[in-house]
Symmetry: C2
């Protein structure tokens, strides 16, 4: 699937050994999460807001209400910066200086486009929901006209992207290895627990396979 070319926008300057521009690596990190942090400029300030997203090929999709300040600011700017991070562990070194974290993160920069075509917009909404729970769009009541029209959907083109991955043990200074200070890694993971059905469910409605599969894969 190739690699992203390196520009001043996606070049990883700090810790370049951990940098990765491989499309497959970047897509896998993006597909393992459903919450991203979006950066936008408002009143000359950089604001960060968490939001759900979906990915299809080299496009990300986000949605919000018609009056959402972040969405409108992104549209006005015509470009967006998106960050996704998985925290995989704490790296507790002998020295304070070498404390670190294991993580997989991706930064995306690209052009923003409002989806106006109804088919394209509906497909993007399905993409966002299925990105959260694979295949679940087909198990829910799809948007009616009022809901559809009240939703703003933006496409972010992944024009520049980079990943940064740390997945290793402690890197202490050699002279610290003789000390009696403990060092190690505490693994960390985001896990899902069994689904809790809504109290108002009609009788005999079972948890769909899509939800059970999501829970199994994230236990």
């Amino acid at each position: 699937m190739g690699t992203y070319s390196v520009s001043s926008l996606n070049k990883v300057v700090r810790g370049p050994k951990r940098a990765n521009y491989d499309v497959q690596t970047i897509n896998t990190i993006l597909d393992d999460a459903f919450l991203c942090n979006v950066g936008y400029i408002w009143d000359s300030k950089a604001i960060v807001i968490p939001t759900a997203y979906g990915r299809k090929e080299n496009k990300l999709y986000i949605h919000g209400s018609l009056k959402n300040r972040m969405m409108l600011s992104l549209l006005e700017a015509g470009e967006a910066s998106v960050s996704v991070t998985h925290l995989d562990g704490l790296v507790l070194a002998r020295s304070a200086f070498h404390h670190s974290a294991n993580y997989r993160s991706v930064n995306v920069f690209g052009k923003v486009r409002k989806l106006e075509d109804p088919d394209e917009k509906m497909a993007a909404l399905a993409c966002i929901l299925n990105h959260m729970v694979d295949g679940h769009w087909d198990h829910v009541r799809q948007p009616n006209e009022k809901e559809f029209n009240a939703t703003l959907v933006l496409e972010i083109s992944m024009d520049h992207a980079s990943a940064k991955v740390r997945a290793e043990g402690v890197n202490d200074e050699p002279e610290d290895h003789n000390s009696s200070i403990w060092a190690g890694v505490v693994p960390i993971r985001q896990v899902a627990f069994d689904a809790i059905s809504d109290e108002l469910l009609q009788p005999d409605v079972n948890i769909p396979d899509t939800v059970n599969r999501f829970v199994e894969q994230n236990k």
Copy 2:
């Protein structure tokens, strides 16, 4: 402990019912995490970078290398935007439109100051490490002069802050309650696993209580 006053910078416009300006609520959400997302402006673009942080009273501390582009951009701007999010669950509604997430998030905006006083700077480094694993600073080899001088520490004053919390079940349209579509919540949590000691440890070095306590509290 009071509340933050509401300004255009921290006012929660979308979903105001979920907004909270209570200092205690905001501090609790901040103290439950150690990774934040920082927004900064570079080349007229809003960039988002994840980084570790500590909190003391109404100050956040972040650190990085002397040449870190984010740190230098924040210093130049003289202000920073910080976002912290805990994902607590997926809210899977009967309707696509009412899909949501349970979460606790905080946004902070404030002035940035470089810590130059050595005592203040060392205290901030201890704060960042102890924010990750409570009390662990006293169990590690503290920074030597070279390491200390190679580290840039910034204080972000929490001049404006707001929390947004969703912690509830599914909110479907009443007319959807009669349908045979499933709805419910999938709880999600970030958990820690038992510490894995570094292979190069000296004999008879045990995992410190601070680390065991962290793992217990996050299991």
